[in-house]
């Protein structure tokens, strides 16, 4: 039996799903995406009206005061239509960081986020995947009592296009061991170069040249907060992957039921039925990865949290790849078309999982944890 909280979360999910299918269904928006003319403005406005953008912000701060389970359903629905948005970076990560920020910064930014007037770009490697390329990162220097001078180079900025703020990690030379985040206006970036991932997600790189900002824009980040934000990022990506995996399994099953070959519909071939059964199993495994991440967020022990994160992301990688690749294969060549949903599914799933680091890295990290645990003799299940 579902708890009242679970029922409320599903009602929210239904609202988001209805809104997304009406405003940005995959086949309706694909032509505009083809020309680069598609804008998230209408989606963003609608998410604000539903209350999704202030979902995890406490009620006294103007939000809905919801938790990870509600965040999951919103991300799942965004995933179901294979739409890349700055929802995770803005509504989950930036909001969480802002709750630890100077009250004036909170008052300035949180209402804008909740009302859909502000979008926040983040650096992928701050919360997930390590990225290569030019040595990136921002360095800060205190100027007087209230100001900070910042410079450096940022790469793999997600959704910079359309955002008005950038949230990035920041190091001070005099406190290299302390972790900070800074909220910068996008205008502080120069030499901006832009690109996009195969799933359409806009990415950018840019330089910050001695930008002087008020010290209140800098947030001190505890180890606990950094870990929670990593988990939220992973949860957002995994939840979107879960929604997209659900949709891909469904459209592939629909296709097999309707497509005739060799005198019968494809769904009558046992070989294909069994492959679909394996996808169904992967679908449930992905949901369980999400559940593990939600559980990690509710776990106090930081080692346990990290262990659960590595496990969930290691498992997620294999299952989402299986569904993404098989959805194309089972559709035949039509599934490999850019304009086809199955063709859009694989790149989106690949980006979502790579944002959190590749699965081998997580398996490797998990193996180290297991290796270190061996001499302890304490081998209970993790929940």
């Amino acid at each position: 039996m579902r708890s009242p909280e679970a029922t409320a979360a599903e009602m929210l999910g239904e609202s988001v799903a209805r809104f997304l299918s009406e405003t940005c269904g995959f086949y309706e928006r694909r032509p505009a995406e083809a020309t680069g003319a598609y804008s998230l403005d209408r989606v963003w406005e609608g998410l604000a009206q539903i209350g999704a953008l202030g979902l995890t912000v406490p009620e006294p701060r103007g939000g809905a005061g919801a938790g990870a389970a509600e965040a999951f359903v919103v991300c799942r629905e965004l995933g179901r239509v294979a739409l890349s948005t700055p929802y995770v970076s803005t509504a989950l990560l930036a909001s969480t960081a802002l709750l630890e920020a100077d009250p004036e910064l909170q008052d300035e930014v949180l209402p804008r986020i909740i009302e859909g007037r502000s979008r926040v770009a983040v650096v992928a490697s701050d919360f997930g995947a390590p990225t290569g390329g030019e040595k990136a990162g921002l360095a800060g220097r205190r100027v007087g009592e209230h100001e900070v001078s910042i410079e450096g180079y940022l790469s793999m900025l997600l959704h910079l296009q359309g955002s008005d703020l950038v949230m990035s990690s920041l190091r001070f030379g005099d406190a290299a061991d302390t972790d900070y985040l800074v909220f910068l206006p996008v205008a502080a970036l120069s030499e901006v170069s832009t690109g996009r991932f195969y799933d359409g997600t806009p990415v950018a790189a840019g330089r910050v040249e001695k930008a002087v900002v008020h010290a209140r824009r800098v947030v001190k980040v505890s180890a606990d907060l950094r870990q929670r934000m990593r988990l939220l990022f992973a949860l957002g990506c995994a939840s979107e992957a879960s929604g997209l995996a659900d949709a891909l399994v469904q459209v592939t099953a629909d296709y097999l039921r309707s497509r005739t070959a060799f005198g019968q519909t494809l769904d009558r071939f046992q070989a294909l039925q069994h492959r679909m059964a394996d996808l169904r199993m992967s679908q449930e495994a992905i949901r369980s990865c999400v559940a593990l991440l939600i559980h990690a967020l509710q776990t106090a022990d930081c080692l346990q949290r990290e262990r659960l994160r590595h496990a969930a992301l290691a498992a997620l990688g294999g299952h989402v790849r299986r569904i993404g690749k098989e959805a194309i294969q089972l559709h035949g060549a039509t599934g490999a078309m850019w304009e086809h949903f199955a063709g859009a599914g694989l790149p989106r799933l690949m980006v979502l999982q790579q944002l959190c680091g590749n699965p081998d890295q997580h398996t490797h990290a998990y193996a180290h944890i297991v290796r270190d645990e061996l001499p302890t003799g304490a081998y209970r299940p993790l929940f």
Binding site: A69, L272, H274, A285, A315, Y366, H368, V370, R371
Partner: protein
Amino acid sequence: MRLDLSAEAKAMAAEAREFFATALPDEMRRHVVQCPEIIPIELQKRWHRILASRGWGGHGLPAAAGGTGWSDEVHHAFLREMALADAPRPMLYGLRMVATTLVRYGTEDQVRRHLPGIISGEAMWCQAFSEPDAGSDLAAVRCRAVREGDEYVIHGTKLWTTEAHWADALCGIFRTGTGARKQEGITFLLMPMSARGIEVRPLKLLEGSHEVNQIFFDGVRVPVSERVGDEGDGWRVAKYLLATERLEIAEVGRSWSLLGRIKAVLAGPDAKMRTQCENPVVMTRLAELEIRLLVLDATERRLVLDGAEALRAGAPLLKIEGSTLAQDLSELLLDITGLDAQVWSKEYDLDTPQPVGAPGSGVAGRLFYNSRVRTIYGGSSETMRNLIARHDLKLGQG
């Protein structure tokens, strides 16, 4: 999406853990660890009496049927602790399958007559479903039950009947008619193993163990009062029972326990194991298996918390991954044990030292070879995939 058990279920888990820590005899635990697939009948009954002494003999059954009246979640917590304690499995065929099925489909008289023996642990049951030409295609059963007055008269044979050589009674499905679909005309019957005309012949599994049997029925007479459900409607009853069996075969708790034992072997004093621990391939395999187990555990927990219907619907999925994972764990244990694991050791004769090889290494070979049947019994993985495709995904129905 929560994985945390309710306060009630957590309290049950804590109570059970504490009880098992003191009440489970060492030799019983040793047997489960060394030879988990075959627990001798006397050990099974003894363990059940220990549970019954605590009032847990009818665990998982409704209070009205003489059971504990626990919710599925509380029962899940209890079974998990039992597995983690390396206690013998619950009496699968009697308590978990026949009793549960009788509560759902049996008459009041059947419940009254059969459940007390099951709950007390005195009555050992087996399940006679498969036949020589009806394994995965179970609905093709041909073992015939012909109605004669108030009795059915049975002729034919059943195959792969686990623990029939120990059982006091059996439940089974028999052909009483034909219909448009082969699932029609099947009837679910109960009978004592002492019934005249029943003969049990042992079958040996590839590692040499005697776990399964073939049963021959030569004019066995069963009163109509021992029919569960209507005549010809036994397929529905059998499906319900099988879903319970598949959940048991997933055995997430026992896989955690086996994983712990593999870790203990790796962390043990054997110098060979230190080399294994330094082998990144071995550690990666171990990590991958633990991650799979963690995900399976989360899936089972989600389904338990979603309610009985969700759990039963998810049984094929849990069965495939649970049984495959158990095989893969046993294969890792086999590999790290090396050639010693290939020395044949007699089933459940734990007091006879292995003639050759490291002490205790025999379990690795037995587990590996015996686990081959796990992806076959209770419905093969291929049959489970058929069920998922047809029922979950609605494929092949047009």
